[in-house]
Point group: C2
Chain length 349, copies 2
DNA sequence: CCGAATTTAGAGAGCGCTCTCAATGATCCT
DNA sequence: AGGATCATTGAGAGCGCTCTCTAAATTCGG
């Protein structure tokens, strides 16, 4: 039990002395060791080992201006980030990819106004090299904050505030919501369905709008009564389905913009005595783990690879950091990425 | 669009010059401003404002040896940290409490052997002031790592490795698993049940053992056939219930060590035609949000305040950091905290 | 109104590390 | 062999901030 809690950790200096070389040489060895004779490298390595030397990150950051950390920022309040499996899976992807590149993950949640200020200060303080940002609603102040701070940022989901489209410097990763919706609706059409309704997500989120756009792409002049706005929750889906059935009892298919809402819709359909898919075909969106497969009947849905989204966000961010670091502006400018979706056929359509 | 991405941020020096004072004075103002004339304070404040000055954390850390960040470490592999609502809620509490104290949350997940080494290096590098650790299994190497690094740590859940009990310096936050279990079983007894079985959690986790101990406290010589080990999952609970029913069909009550397992148990009981609670009374553990209330029938269970656990872990850690910082060893030594549980009566018992 | 006590401000020494630049010795070419 | 080239190494200057220590300014008692 050698509890060294208060003992100061050894410094570069100490290692240098022990190895009988200069600080510079130790630094070189610690950071890759090129240009140092093998004999010395060995000596330094041994000294490092014996002293249990670990570089002090603060000192290093002070001169390199690199922290090796990335902030993950999300607005918690309305969406209960953690309980949201969508976010959880993205976070997992982010965490894994960061670990793979030896970077750290600093989690920044905002709930109240004061938090925004805190986050701004934090980012400006140079704690992190870049940020990955989930700005779930279009009126969120976070994007403006990161812009002001001037910190490299990658957005999760296509930014939706006014002017965002035009700004090519904005980096984001999104799934192909519109294409996925198109594929879903197309599938319903190919099944011979003629009255295809849709339950959308909240219209202040870009993903919802995109999915609705995809619906419209295939059904140019859809009856407005066939379109109801939901809120991405199970009960919301149930409410929307109820509304739909009241307004247009003759519908024979529904494209539901999320699996969770589809769950609610399925429940209402069952309660009202509709058979799925015979009377009403249903297609969801997400292919959420532990949900879509276990609905009754198993849900046909549009799969998006959430973890991969997280990973790609990190990769994009790190690449953009490399760009601005070295004087190596090689290649063409980085651009956002859209991840393809894929229809997973199960039993509801 | 004043994109200042590459512009260096202003330094203390710059503020000092602008305000016409020394660096020291600016530093004093920025850090509380006591001992500086009001006139100067005002001048410095203005300069800070005009320049948009934000202290560089790396430089500050280098001298103060304080980072204002805390690591949250968890072993991801087996338990899928993020999907685990238990952990999610704890993380939420941790995040909120840290934010309240203006500290940052660095998330460290370990999946493979290489990650442990990375985490060790990270902690030793002085990136964080302390750590909050979830070591879910007794053979996890993380506790040993934090010990070696000598970083102040608070454990989530009572540490269970050999010798842990004796070590009073170990700080942890746990709920009163044993007491909660006792209360659950006691309730079943008071209902007049005579054959009370239990489905435990995995026996390599302390919480499971504690809950089983609570069961034994009330049922000193329980029939071993009435005890089956589960794995905290829904299907695991179902399997365990099946086994129980096969071994001891005459049972009239079950204390299930988690809500998720209770869910599975309820399902099996229903399938086998047992009425709950008439034939078999059931009590769960956790009072998990969105689960316990919505089972059929609603689950009677032992409530533990998970978010509060997270908050307390942080509070304990920060207090312990304060202790070792100042030369102010006021008061008696810090000690671990056990959070009380509470029986929530619903319909299953 | 003067010296002592008390505030308030500035100078300057680091914190531990990286990185440029110059010095050293080894190697090469004609 | 002699100068040029190249590979290694060390010296030392910061990075931006805090903090101690001293100097200057202010207050106060007698």
């Amino acid at each position: 039990m050698s509890d060294q809690i208060f003992a100061r950790r050894p410094t570069l200096e100490a290692v240098a002395e022990r190895a009988g070389v200069s600080r510079a040489t130790v630094s070189r060895v610690v950071n890759g060791g090129s240009g140092v004779r093998e004999a010395l490298v060995e000596k330094v390595r041994r000294a490092v080992e014996e002293l249990g030397y670990v570089p002090n990150q603060a000192a290093r950051t002070l001169v390199t201006r690199r922290t090796g950390a990335v902030a993950v920022i999300a607005a918690e309040p309305e969406t209960e980030v953690f309980t949201n499996p969508f976010f959880a899976e993205q976070l997992l992807g982010i965490s894994r990819e960061l670990a793979a590149h030896d970077h750290q993950l600093v989690l920044l949640l905002t709930e109240e106004a004061a938090d925004y200020e805190r986050v701004g200060r934090y980012l400006a303080g140079g704690h992190v090299d870049g940020a990955v940002l989930f700005s779930l609603h279009n009126d969120d102040p976070l994007p403006e904050i990161v812009r002001q701070v001037g910190i490299p940022t990658v957005f999760g989901g296509r930014p939706g505030w006014p002017g965002a489209e035009a700004d090519r410097s904005l980096l984001y990763v999104d799934s192909d919501n519109r294409g996925g919706a198109r594929e879903a609706v197309n599938h319903l059409i190919s099944l011979g369905r003629g009255r295809i309704a849709t339950i959308t997500g909240p219209m202040d989120q870009v993903a919802s709008v995109d999915r609705l756009d995809g619906y419209h792409d295939m059904l140019m002049d859809a009856d407005p009564r066939l379109i109801v706005e939901g809120d991405f929750s199970e009960p919301g889906g149930a409410r929307a389905m109820t509304a739909l059935l009241d307004r247009a009892p003759e519908l024979d298919a529904v494209f539901v913009a999320s699996d969770l809402m589809a769950l609610g819709a399925l429940r209402v359909l069952r309660e009202r005595g509709y058979r799925v898919p015979e009377d009403v075909a249903v297609v969801g969106f997400d292919d959420m783990a532990k949900v879509a497969e276990h609905t009754d009947p198993p849900l046909t849905t549009v799969r998006q690879d959430i973890e991969e989204m997280g990973r790609l966000m990190v990769r994009l961010l790190l690449r953009s950091l490399d760009r601005q670091a070295k004087d190596a502006p090689v290649g063409r400018p980085l651009s956002s990425v859209i991840i393809p979706t894929r229809l997973v056929r199960r039993a509801t359509a």
